[in-house]
């Protein structure tokens, strides 16, 4: 191998790459926040007894599951303005495309969680005359999200990595900055290695936490909660901590 490494490039590129990372994280956080909310009505629609609603939700999910994200990005960035006449920035296009994509996958994760909640628990809520919305809000969704937390975290890690695609529509994220520096310095190996390390440094702890969480959930369900409360159980929205 005749390649001569020049790792000083890494020192020079690092601050710029961190700026790109900030954009990547902004994109990821906003996308996750939007998708986690929008996925709930999509999941509910997917289980609707009204055929038109159910098919509409199914169609939406299948479109975004069965087309490449790069195509979705390009479509939002190039085709949507042509259809609507609106000028949409690269960042906004990225948010729309990433959110629409993640919402589809998240909705399926939620639906799986909703359907895993024992029907008798929902019927108990019905017998206590809770409305359908209250059954969803207090009985189904909290349990579904808890059940599906490992899946949801995995999807979030994936969207963080897949956000690298937004560099193709000139959004100045980590990948775009890496690409630019690489073009200017001709040190692709060092620059993209640094980019990979940065992506890994952010994603790996989350991946580790996800694995830890899955293991704790399995231990808790096996133990029947005779021991101390799990970290996750204390994070369930609305759950009051028992006082002595």
């Amino acid at each position: 191998m005749n390649y001569e490494f020049d790792w000083t490039i890494v020192a020079d590129a690092f601050p710029l790459m961190l700026e790109g990372l900030v954009v990547t994280l902004e994109l990821t956080v906003v996308t996750i926040a939007i998708s986690m909310v929008l996925a709930v009505p999509v999941a509910v629609a997917r289980m609707s007894e009204i055929e038109l609603v159910r098919w509409g939700a199914q169609a939406y999910i299948e479109v975004f599951r069965c087309t490449p994200m790069l195509v979705q990005l390009f479509w939002i960035f190039y085709a949507l303005p042509a259809l609507t006449g609106l000028t949409i920035s690269g960042f906004t296009s990225a948010i729309i495309a990433l959110s629409a994509n993640l919402t589809a996958f998240m909705a399926e994760a939620y639906r799986s969680g909703f359907q895993a909640v024992p029907v008798e628990q929902v019927e108990a809520g019905k017998m206590l005359r809770l409305t359908r919305l209250q059954q969803l809000r207090y009985i189904i969704v909290p349990q579904a999200i808890r059940q599906q937390t490992p899946v949801i975290l995995s999807l979030n890690i994936s969207i963080f990595k897949d956000s690298a695609l937004v560099s193709t529509i000139a959004v100045a994220d980590l990948m775009f900055v890496a690409n630019t520096i690489s073009s200017e310095t001709y040190r692709s190996l060092e620059v993209f290695t640094l980019a990979a390390v940065i992506y890994f440094a952010v994603a790996f702890p989350v991946s580790l936490a996800t694995s830890n969480l899955e293991r704790r959930m399995q231990q808790n369900s096996a133990r029947g909660a005779t021991g101390s409360q799990s970290f996750l159980s204390r994070m369930i929205p609305g759950r009051r901590v028992a006082t002595a």
Binding site: E120, A124, G125, M127, L128, R129, L130, T131, G224
Partner: protein, 262 residues
């Protein structure tokens, strides 16, 4: 939001006809589960319902609860028509608040503690304040001997304890009719006896009518006012426990009783 004050008034006196079902029929996937079921129940009575699996017992209970819609028939509750022409009437929306149900499987919500399980519906549907709901919860738990577990997580409770909490939760809405679908079938006999004793006290002290699907003939003989035997989707016998246990004319009932008791 419905408030305590706007819950529909209840008219039936103890001993009066609380439930009157006529001609109930239900089929699933071409198989008739319930056929021509006529059933009356009086306020303050304990009615024990027995029969083989698949004979229609739970289906009738679910029809009275509003969880299953019969294909045919009518149901009157508290003197008002609540089901006809294959659908619930407008009166059911209010009258349904007087019907509670406890299920065979433990249906407590595991992500909430006992207090939250009990107070959710009164707060959200009856408009009770947190402190009012807590007071009522303490009272309901005291009825079932579970007051000391008010802040326990449901997953920390034994089977019998969970079932008693489930009864307390149903009592929070002050039902006049409590439907119990094999609530002791998963419990050890001594624990089952404790749970059934709770029901007997509820009837005696609160005047709640209870319809109970069970195989516990000891409870039926001691506490039931009526015994209903389901056979092939129909009510084959509707009598008092005394008459049922002293050789009725129905051979299937005699065989069933002999099989479930020593």
């Amino acid at each position: 939001m419905k408030t305590l004050e706007s819950t529909a008034p209840f008219h039936t006196e103890i001993g009066g006809v609380l439930v009157s079902a006529r001609g109930l029929q239900k089929s699933f996937h071409g198989r008739t589960i319930m056929r021509n079921v006529d059933f009356d129940m009086h306020a303050g009575d304990i009615t024990v319902i027995i029969g083989k699996s698949g004979s229609g017992k739970s289906t009738m209970l679910r029809a009275l609860a509003g969880l299953t819609e019969p294909d045919e028939g009518t149901i009157d509750f508290d003197g008002v028509r609540v089901f006809e022409d294959q659908q619930r009437t407008e009166a059911w929306a209010d009258k349904s608040f007087h019907v509670g149900m406890v299920f065979q499987t433990y249906t407590l919500w595991p992500h909430m503690n006992v207090l939250d399980n009990l107070t959710l519906a009164p707060r959200k549907r009856l408009g009770m304040s947190g402190s009012e709901a807590r007071d009522r919860a303490e009272s309901a738990l005291a009825e079932v001997g579970m007051k000391q577990h008010i802040l326990s997580r449901c997953t920390q409770l034994s089977g019998g304890e969970r079932q008693r909490v489930a009864i307390a939760r149903a009592l929070m809405m002050k039902p006049r009719l409590l439907l119990c679908d094999e609530i002791t079938s998963a419990l050890d006999p001594p624990v089952a006896a404790e749970v059934l004793e709770v029901l007997r006290r509820l009837k005696a002290e609160e005047g709640i009518a209870i319809a109970l699907v069970t195989h516990d003939m000891a409870f039926a003989s001691k506490a039931a006012d009526r015994l209903v035997f389901f056979q092939d989707g129909e009510i084959a016998v509707n009598t008092t426990p005394e008459l049922a246990f002293t050789r009725s004319d129905n051979e299937e009932l005699n065989k069933f009783i002999d099989a479930v008791r020593f």
